[in-house]
């Protein structure tokens, strides 16, 4: 997705994992994914550089759709669809 498309997304769940280090954000995403329905969108906020690479791989393995990442000031917004 483009930056504009990501920015315009309606997010169903936000996981703020900026206070944790690897693998904290990934585990926070794993916990939260069970709380949304198939087709819904989740964003993961992480200040961990590794997480922006881990989440797309995790999505591929678990059958979720990685939508893209926005780089904010000091953290990333990582979007996926269940």
């Amino acid at each position: 997705m483009t930056t504009e498309e990501l920015t315009a997304l309606t997010v169903d769940k936000t996981v703020d994992a900026r206070g944790t280090s690897c693998p904290g954000p990934l585990l926070a995403a794993k916990k939260a994914i069970g709380e949304i329905e198939k087709g819904q969108i989740m964003e993961v906020l992480s200040a961990d550089e590794g997480t922006r690479r881990d989440i797309p791989k995790w999505c591929t393995k678990k059958g979720f759709e990685y939508l893209g990442t926005l780089e904010e000031s000091g953290y990333f917004k990582i979007f996926l669809r269940k």
Binding site: T20, L26, A29
Partner: protein, 139 residues
């Protein structure tokens, strides 16, 4: 589809290597892997009830131990016992204490170890689990 399996031969009783094991366990938990951990020699020391929270030894770069421990706090990294506990809550993790290792540290019974431990076993269990695992690590 069956979950992938990981076995971990956990020898180290030092906080740096136990923390690394906790990070890897987190990765396994995120992917719903089935994990079997075999707690060997020095790791059994760290798993003793009286040692788990007080043991601050590091195995490598030992002259920087204080910096390492301070960094774990700065980064809000969970204690290794917490990382192990989180993984157990999120995926199927079994933790076996090697019977020989337990005796080395005067741990004869399961109750001598922190409640993360599931049982005391012999090396045959490790061999059987390792034979059929997708990932097998020694830390």
């Amino acid at each position: 589809m069956a979950n992938k399996k990981m076995t971990l031969a956990l020898f180290s009783g030092s906080v740096d290597k136990l923390t690394a094991a906790g990070v890897i366990l987190g990765g396994a938990a995120a992917e719903d892997m089935d994990v079997e951990i075999f707690v060997l020699l020095q790791a059994a020391f760290a798993f003793k009830k009286e040692n788990a929270m007080t043991n601050e030894r590091v195995a490598e770069i030992t002259d920087k131990q204080d910096e390492f421990l301070a960094s774990l706090k700065r980064l809000n990294a969970p204690h290794w016992t917490e990382a192990f506990r989180n993984a157990k809550e999120m995926t199927n993790v079994k933790i076996h204490i090697c019977g020989f290792a337990g005796k080395v540290w005067h741990g004869e019974k399961l109750e001598d170890f922190i409640d993360l431990a599931d049982d005391i076993c012999g090396i045959g269990e490790y061999m059987s689990a390792a034979e059929t695992s997708d990932i097998n690590l020694f830390i």
